[in-house]
């Protein structure tokens, strides 16, 4: 299984089809985990967008419609969950085609990757994968409009040029609005890629400017925006489901008579059994369908269900933590090695070790999982807040036993995604319930309790580190063991090591200048659903490494910033292959080396901006952390103020961020502001625990997330300048998260001398504990 688990690149892979593709990309003949399918060797590896299922499409006839009235409709084919992609992607097309943004509408694409290219909105890669195709798309549309104008005036096309929604013929001072050219342009051939003239960067009107408002801003603030929870039909029914409280559990028997007789209830039914062919499976359970969600919730309390808990009925997160700690102190599978760690540790003048724990974290999207489905004449329509439109379409088809051609997935706005909505089990539930009601529209809503009890949680992790220093205090040896159930268990429940993608998230690809290193990954098994959570395995890896570096600096009475820069070493571009990272976020190792100069750059910038080194009274302090993920570089300085009772407040956070070229700096800033809040939130409060296989947190009173009164008053985002638009883009949605928790804990240490090695912090900063 290990080869398959490594091949999965699981942290990035969305589905079984992606899994199969990555096996292909590895070459050779490999047996797939389920043992059913043999995959043959493929060609030389592809990278980036072209390596994704269905790659990219740059055809303006697919993405752009120009109306006679001059209104331009641009298709957004990636899912909007707050990262701004419905503004950012069409903005690239509009700019390149010289459209006036005030006359642009955005329309969301249904699931159809053959038509639009890959739609899996995850991995912080929408913009970096689609900027070039979208530019080509816009340029082709502009050139077709120019061609149409030249034909109208019977002049050479070289004499005309497009400018702000018009085509001009300077010599004769004629001009035509795009609307007047629409019909003629649509009949022209799309110019080939080789013939396209892209705009020069200095001609950009919107790209890189941050000067446009959110495309959905007005709808959101007036209550007109439509999320997955919002479709409404007159004949619609509303469902909630009682799901097995334990992963793998089943319904032994149930009594739904009392629930069925409750006010408003239309039907009580057991959820159908899983089908082998699908990827993301609804959990076993009993559904209550009623004339309102409120009635269904009330009636669900009246169900009597006898569960068979299955193999995970004993899962206890405290006991599991102890077993992971045990594993972390024993040798495990070596996943990166250079030099000779054993000799170096023996020869060290001083050794330091530490162990860190990061619990399960729930996404808790404000819009819980939900979907609407109806089936008319054998064709199913689904409205879903999904990050994985194609997987949604395929899973619904597989569960209904119909062709994917007969399934239309309307992608709504997502009320938060964070990785949860990459797993569209909720859409399949809606389709199955509609099928049970002869195709009538049904809305499934997960209550908050459902969401916290049955999430695809962020993994739980024990990270053990040991370092040796030579007589000069220089780190000569570095041992890191990471123990965490893998999200490869989504596809193979028996997977027991981190996949290549998880290892490549700040663990094996740590670029520090240390001569003797060994990274090990001992076994760990999963007992709840593990999934992608915004920035994924970077969270535990960055927390451990960035806390440990601060511990090393403190042990030597060194300034943390200077110490970190020394460990990073001189500016150099490192081939990820030399770090034994074959994954590299799916990107080319040549185009995307690990650039320690850029990592140094964000450390230097953030410390300078935050006034690093200034003196604080006891109870106040600053903490620093830096992390490379999703081919972007982030560093944070968190300032804390801790009162006599150990209550932490965070007056200010500075973030420096280098993602290369910035398409919409305004949204990049907002993503980083949000990442600060989410990072602080998970560090201070975030934890899902298990007893008897059951998640113990029911709602926001037990699973706390940061609120207004706890949030920093001052968040300063410092975007690093970039040389030019030929630089490859980095990710934005996720890489702001990893440095926040360690920077916070390093600040707590600076303020109190108390070292936090177990998240969440809760009351650990109190002086009595």
């Amino acid at each position: 299984m290990n080869a398959a688990a490594d091949a999965i690149g699981a942290a990035e892979a969305l589905s079984r089809r992606e899994f199969l593709r990555r096996l292909q990309a590895m070459g050779g003949l490999l047996l797939v985990a389920d043992g059913l399918r043999i995959v043959k060797a493929a060609d030389a590896p592809k990278y980036g967008a072209e390596a994704m299922e269905h790659g990219t499409v740059d055809d303006p006839l697919v993405f752009v419609m120009v109306g006679d009235d001059g209104w331009i409709t641009i298709i957004a084919h990636r899912s909007e969950m707050g990262q701004g992609v419905r503004t950012g992607m069409p903005l690239i097309v509009a700019d390149e085609m010289e459209a006036d943004w005030s006359r642009v509408r955005v329309q969301q694409a249904a699931a159809d990757e053959i038509k639009y290219g890959n739609q899996d909105t995850d991995g912080s890669r929408s913009t970096r994968h689609f900027i070039d195709p979208m530019r080509r798309c816009g340029a082709a549309a502009r050139m077709m409009l120019e061609q149409a104008a030249a034909l109208s005036w019977n002049v050479p096309v070289a004499e005309v040029h497009a400018l702000n929604h018009e085509v001009l013929h300077d010599r004769t001072r004629r001009k035509l609005d795009y609307g007047a050219l629409a019909k003629r342009a649509a009949k022209l051939k799309v110019p080939p890629s080789s013939a396209l003239r892209l705009k020069k960067a200095e001609q950009f009107r919107y790209v890189g400017k941050g000067n446009v408002a959110l495309i959905d801003g007005h709808d959101i603030v007036t209550g007109q925006a439509r999320y997955g929870i919002d479709p409404w039909f007159k004949d619609m029914s509303f469902a909630v489901i009682a799901r097995s409280p334990v992963l793998g559990g089943t319904v032994k028997q149930f009594d739904g008579k009392i629930a069925a007789a409750a006010p408003g209830v239309l039907k009580v039914m057991q959820m159908p059994a899983p089908v082998a062919k699908a990827t993301f499976h609804p959990l076993a359970g009993v559904a209550v369908i009623a004339d309102s969600t409120g009635a269904a919730i009330a009636a669900r309390k009246l169900l009597k269900i006898d569960w068979d808990d299955g193999a995970n009925g004993n899962y206890d997160s405290d006991a599991y933590r102890a077993s992971m700690q045990e594993s972390a102190h024993k040798p495990g599978k070596v996943v990166r090695e250079s030099g000779n760690i054993d000799t170096a540790l023996k020869a060290a003048a001083k050794t330091i070790e530490a162990e860190y724990y990061i619990p399960h974290i729930a996404h808790a999207t404000m819009e819980p999982p939900c979907a609407v489905a109806r089936i008319v004449a054998g064709k199913c329509e689904v409205w879903a807040p999904t990050q994985a439109p194609q997987a949604t379409r395929e899973d619904v088809a597989n569960y209904l036993g119909i062709s994917a051609d007969n399934v239309t997935v309307h992608v709504t706005l997502l009320g938060g995604g964070f990785g949860r909505k990459s797993k569209p089990d909720f859409a399949t539930e809606a389709a199955l319930l509609s099928q049970a009601l002869d195709g009538r529209p049904v809305k499934v809503t997960w209550t908050r309790e459902d969401d916290l009890h049955h999430d695809y949680l962020h993994t739980v992790s024990v990270e053990y580190l040991k370092a040796g220093m030579d007589a000069n205090g220089k780190v000569s040896a570095w041992l890191h063991r990471s123990v965490a159930p893998s999200l490869a268990t989504l596809f193979n429940p028996k997977a027991d090591h981190e996949s290549g993608g998880e290892l490549g998230m700040g663990f094996i690809n740590m670029p520090y200048d240390i001569p003797n290193l060994r990274m090990e990954n001992p076994e760990a098994s999963a007992h709840c659903r593990i999934g992608w959570f915004r920035s994924v395995s970077n969270i535990p890896h960055a927390f451990a490494v960035q806390s440990f570096v601060a511990e090393l600096a403190a042990s030597d009475n060194r300034d943390h910033r200077d110490y970190l820069l020394e460990l990073i070493g001189p500016a150099r571009k490192i081939d990820p292959n030399s770090l034994q990272d074959k994954w590299n976020h799916g990107e080319s190792p040549q185009r995307y080396p690990v650039d320690t100069g850029r990592l140094r750059g964000v450390v230097e910038k953030v410390t300078q901006e935050a006034g690093w080194g200034k003196k604080f009274a006891r109870g106040r302090g600053q903490g620093l952390a830096a992390h490379y993920s999703f081919v972007s570089y982030a560093a944070a300085v968190v300032e804390v103020d801790i009162d006599e009772l150990g209550r932490i407040s965070v007056p200010r956070v500075d973030v420096a961020f280098d993602c290369g070229p910035q398409v919409n700096p305004e949204r990049i800033r907002s993503q980083l502001e949000g990442a600060v809040i989410m990072g602080l939130s998970l560090a201070m409060f975030g934890e899902i625990t298990f007893k008897n296989g059951r998640a113990q947190q029911d709602n926001f009173h037990q699973y706390r997330v940061m609120r207004m009164n706890e949030a920093p008053g001052d968040i300063r985002v410092h975007l690093m300048p970039f040389a030019n638009w030929t630089m490859p883009l980095g990710g934005v949605g996720e890489p702001g998260i990893p440095p926040i928790a360690p920077a916070l804990c390093n600040a707590v240490f600076a303020a109190t001398g108390k070292r936090i090695r177990r998240l969440p912090i809760k009351d650990q900063a109190s002086r009595s504990t």
């Binding site: 959905d216 989410m678 009164n709």
Partner: protein
């Protein structure tokens, strides 16, 4: 029963114990008001009842009879609501936007009561509204901007 919603009277047949949220969303199709927790913990479902910000997910619909209900679909009719909606857009407050209806409703009640709120006033009024995307600093700025705008235009 008759409900007065955004200055219109609506007749609806509903179980008197059904939370107002589900009457709005499921029976009337007014989906601007959002579900987030069902326990008055997150504020996504906030509406104004006679001007007071309340959580519709725990309020039996029978308690709203005879009172004036304002939702996100209607708040723009008031100067404070319009100013908040304007400031929210100028500052590009939303990320996913799902919680923002509730945020704006809580902010509207705040500005009605305190036209020039302090940071402490904002914390007190807004800490019942969770934003998982983390837009708090922009919400704070937008409330202040809206307060200034309303102050100037009065």
């Amino acid at each position: 029963m008759d409900l007065k919603i955004n200055d219109h009277t609506v007749t609806v047949a509903a179980d008197p114990d059904l939370p107002l949220l589900w009457v709005l969303r499921d029976l009337l199709g007014m989906t601007g008001t959002k579900f987030g927790c069902g326990m008055a913990l997150c504020g996504a479902c906030t509406v104004l009842i006679d001007g007071q910000a309340l959580r519709s997910c725990v309020m039996p619909v029978s308690q709203a009879v005879g009172k004036s209900i304002t939702t996100i679909e209607g708040i723009g009719a008031s100067p404070v609501g319009a100013a908040l909606q304007g400031a929210w857009q100028e500052i590009n407050v939303p990320q996913c936007g799902y919680c923002q209806a509730g945020q704006i409703m809580s902010a509207a009640a705040l500005l009605q009561a305190k036209p020039q709120p302090s940071d402490a006033d904002i914390d007190a009024a807004m800490s019942g509204n969770i934003c998982r995307c983390g837009t708090y600093t922009r919400i704070r700025s937008a409330i202040k901007q809206a307060a200034d705008h309303v102050g100037v235009t009065k």
